[in-house]
Symmetry: C2
Subunit: 367 residues, 2 copies
């Protein structure tokens, strides 16, 4: 079975690595020379909207998927007229626009923070007055890892924020007080079968995910999250892995956004779950039975941002699993991740502390 | 770090897959077009003894290893004059000759079944008379998976066996009564650090490994096996993973043979141990700290010989992990393996039973 993957970043690479033992042959399309995935599978070097390249993929592959949510919908639609593309292009389209995404959540009864589209500085100021401060002005499209956002702490912040981000479609969102940022990694098969990993607790720094770990089990919270996830999966007639980002607030879970793909907050599943998110995504899009999503032991995942620690030092930590992406270091760039597994919580804490010391970018003391 | 791998079979492929997250770039040499490993890393298509190809590997790579024990020693020595080769060529040489291998065991105080080199039918008959029956006549070189062997159940079997195998260097070995076939997967780093996986219990059918699973822990037996393993690793100044095959007999462990490489009976470590044998082999040959060898949950591995079960049917079994090698089916050929993981022994037994039903080549009832 040949699978086309639009985007050969680290997510694509990990999909390919999960596919090879299943005798799946991955083929990448990515305009970036020597993308991470090209180390493990053939890469077609062309723009995503290059019809000749897309047609070649459609000839060579039986199914297509993508490894990032900003792949042009037009490219995916072109491909979808030729071979099945999962997740469905409609889900991709919804996720690319924060306004449509949040409106969808609202229509499905999934609570969100207050939000409103704003088309002028006056509208922004009016919205903020009604919503309260602080708030965040965001581009509706192409934002990730905290990019394309401006915090509004005072009404006077509106003008400079508008000045910086204006000229694009914008949305303003109320800031909510939350205890934790969580994510739900969900997967749905072609036959409608669904599975959910245990809720993941995420810690960010400078808008970039730093640490993810399965949250302490809480059956009610898990049920609430899965209820939201199920609404979304079914409404979108979704196929594949989907990540739903949530805020854990005093009065319940609020949905922040969803990613129609495998997700950084699910990387721990490679070592920490019976079936990884990567294998389950492939199982789903190929119409195969989904794999178990239960955890195996204790684990946590740390991103390596801007620089990679020395391999030997990492591997000296018991239970450390190193994942380098083969990318050139650049500040703020995700260059790899390290999953630490341990037989119990105390051992995990000690190992994470050793890793923190190596990474030199300590988070809050409880991590 | 670029690593040359002589042999791009399934073992080479799994080494490559383990290396990629560590940012290791594998390069294969294998005369077989489209060998399994070529799906994940570049393959130099040439004979192992092709000096130009070996020289190219030496230019491109910092260290070399091999994925099968019948790689020509001359090729490995040629490479070893240019770049470090691990495991050491001397270990390879010893393992390629059953007489030298068994003599080495004996010299290290590692018990074996009775054995003797035989150079004529008369010598064979004399040896068998002394040793007792049954016995097995074996080629000293190039035997694997039961090939190149003749069982001697009666003194009259000697002549036809000699007729069939004569003309090669031969050894006759006494048959021992054993309870179980075990193997010890051992690893030694460049700094002498050693680690041992829990003893593995193996079941063969028609001379080919069918099932491997970590044996029920037995501290005394484990210590005895590790004592033998340690003698061997240190004597050979070994670096990398080594598999020591043992018979569990009434009066202790007898060594059968060793393989200077990652081993089929260690495939379960991919899902069933903290660090896989493949990653530990790479860690060892690159001078990195060794990883933990403890088990994670319960598991067992089944080989798929001659044909592969339908992927979807396998994946419908909870905890089933499919590993296809991308090889063309042929009777008696190892085409893949399936590791089954489970939270406890009862669940594992039920899952293995479901797998047995699929594979249709049921073993003894207790498996």
């Amino acid at each position: 079975m040949n699978v086309a993957i639009l985007g050969a970043g680290q997510l694509g690479q990990m999909l390919a690595l999960a596919g090879i033992p299943l005798e799946i042959r991955p083929f990448f399309l990515d305009p970036q020379p020597e993308a991470p995935g090209s180390r493990v599978a053939p890469q077609l070097l062309a723009d995503y909207t290059d019809h000749a390249a897309l047609d070649q993929l459609a000839r060579d592959c039986q199914v297509a998927t993508f490894d990032f949510e900003n792949v042009p919908v037009e490219a995916v639609n072109h491909l979808a007229r030729r071979i099945p593309v999962y997740p469905p292009p409609r889900a991709l389209e919804q996720s690319q626009d924060r306004l449509r995404e949040k409106t969808l959540f609202r229509s499905l009864g999934i609570p969100t923070a207050p939000f409103q589209a704003v088309d002028s500085l006056a509208e922004l100021e009016a919205a903020v007055s009604r919503m309260g401060l602080p708030a965040i002005l965001k581009t509706r499209r192409l934002g990730y890892d905290g990019k394309g956002q401006a915090w509004l702490r005072d009404i006077a912040d509106c003008a400079p924020a508008w000045h910086r981000l204006g000229g694009q479609d914008l949305i303003v969102e109320g800031v909510v007080i939350f205890r934790r940022e969580l994510s739900l990694i969900a997967v749905r098969g072609r036959d409608g079968q669904q599975a959910f990993y245990p809720l993941v607790e995420n810690q960010h720094a400078d808008g970039i995910l730093r640490l993810s770990r399965p949250a302490t089990p809480d059956a009610a919270l898990q049920a609430q999250a899965e209820h939201h996830g199920q609404r979304l999966l079914e409404h979108l007639d979704y196929v594949g892995v989907l990540a739903l980002e949530l805020f854990d607030c005093e009065h319940g879970l609020l949905a922040n956004e969803f990613a129609p793909r495998v997700h950084n907050s699910g990387h721990w599943t490679l070592e920490g779950a019976v079936t990884s998110q990567f294998e389950n995504h492939l199982r789903a899009i190929l119409g195969l039975p989904l794999g178990e999503t239960t955890t195996v032991g204790c684990c946590a995942m740390r991103n390596c941002i801007g620089n990679l620690p020395e391999l030997g030092a990492v591997l000296a930590i018991p239970g450390a699993h190193y994942h380098g992406y083969g990318k050139i270091p650049r500040p703020g760039r995700k260059l790899g991740h390290i999953t630490v597994t341990a037989p119990d919580a105390a051992a995990l804490a000690a190992r994470l502390q050793a890793l923190d010391a190596l990474l030199g970018d300590r988070l809050a003391p409880d991590t």
